[in-house]
């Protein structure tokens, strides 16, 4: 079972991959997915630090994040989860309102997802993390994503 610091290290690894994908601009579906997985590890760090919880599934994690105290994290996390689910699992025939992830989210929408929602998860989580994690967590710079 990973601990708080280990989840922060994994969040940082996802952060680096996310910045790379956003700068590249070709794989926005994967950028949304990696953004979600950064949020997953931040959430797991919060749950490990505060209630000693380790989630074995997305469902278990969601259940824990819906506790009233973690609701601000859940509200932003839900956007990342939705976007990553559409990116990973949804495809439809061409000529319909939705066919691929690019119909759902363009580059600006993905950047906003990161700038507002991933940033929101980070900021709402800081109060639940220990000082070493607060310091070591690589954070989104909203100003660089306009």
């Amino acid at each position: 079972m990973a601990r708080e610091a280990e989840h922060i290290a994994l969040a940082n690894r996802n952060h680096a991959a996310l910045i790379h994908l956003l700068n590249d601009g070709q794989f926005l579906d994967w950028a949304a997915t990696v953004a979600f997985y950064k949020a997953v590890h931040i959430a797991e760090a919060v749950l490990a630090a505060n209630i000693g919880h380790h989630s074995n599934s997305h469902t278990e994690r969601e259940r824990a994040l819906k506790m009233a105290r973690f609701a601000p994290i859940f509200r932003d996390y839900s956007h990342l989860f939705s976007a990553s689910r559409v990116a990973r699992y949804l495809i439809a025939p061409a000529g319909q309102p939705f066919s691929t992830f690019a119909d759902f989210m363009d580059a600006n929408a993905v950047k906003k997802l990161v700038r507002v929602r991933l940033y929101g998860v980070e900021q709402a989580s800081l109060g639940f993390l220990g000082n070493p994690s607060k310091t070591s967590l690589l954070k989104i710079d909203p100003g660089s994503m306009l």
Binding site: K66, S78, V86, Y89, A92, P97, D103, F104
Partner: protein, 172 residues
């Protein structure tokens, strides 16, 4: 939970978990009498009680979701209650094919309300927003064992009212 006050004409039979050696003798309607160990009887009755409560809460949940759908009628194409990863899932399909930030916020709010509602303490629900898709594209999000749709497919049902319940999504 408090014990229900019963009229004097009703005889209450009490099963006490701590009465170590008790065995329950049951005489059913067909007179084929049997004995059951008291602890097992209590567990079975607890499960039956929880099952009854779950049924009531599930009905309340469907009403709550129908009310929410009515407030979002302009944005929703249809919605499905199904199963996913061992819990109930509320899959909402937008009319639009694009990400709708406000809609996701609204759904997260109703999700949080349901998760923290003491009247729905047995309900574990996850919510999923999808852009406008239909048919095979939905298969990854639907469990064939339970598909309950809110939608516009039947002329006799309005959006916001449970339309049908089926074990076979192909019948929709």
């Amino acid at each position: 939970m408090s014990m229900l006050e019963l009229p004097d004409s009703i005889n209450r039979v009490e099963l006490d978990w701590y009465a170590d050696n008790d065995v329950i003798r049951v005489t059913p309607k067909n007179q084929r009498r049997f004995d059951i160990q008291k602890d097992i009887a209590i567990e079975v009755l607890q499960k039956a009680h929880e099952s009854q409560r779950f049924g009531q809460q599930f009905g309340l949940l469907l009403d709550r979701l129908a009310q929410w759908i009515k407030t979002q009628e302009e944005r929703i194409s249809h919605a499905i209650v199904t199963l996913q990863d061992g819990s109930l899932a509320f899959v909402v399909i937008q009319k639009s094919g694009k990400y709708d930030e406000q809609f996701q916020d609204d759904l997260a709010d109703v999700d949080l309300e349901i998760a923290n509602d003491p009247d729905l303490d047995l309900i574990q629900l996850k919510t999923i927003v999808l852009p406008s898709v239909a048919g095979d594209s939905l298969q990854s999000f639907i469990d064939k064992r339970m598909v309950l749709t809110y939608g516009k497919r039947s002329r006799t049902h309005r959006l916001g009212e449970p339309e049908s319940c089926s074990t076979d999504p192909s019948s929709k």
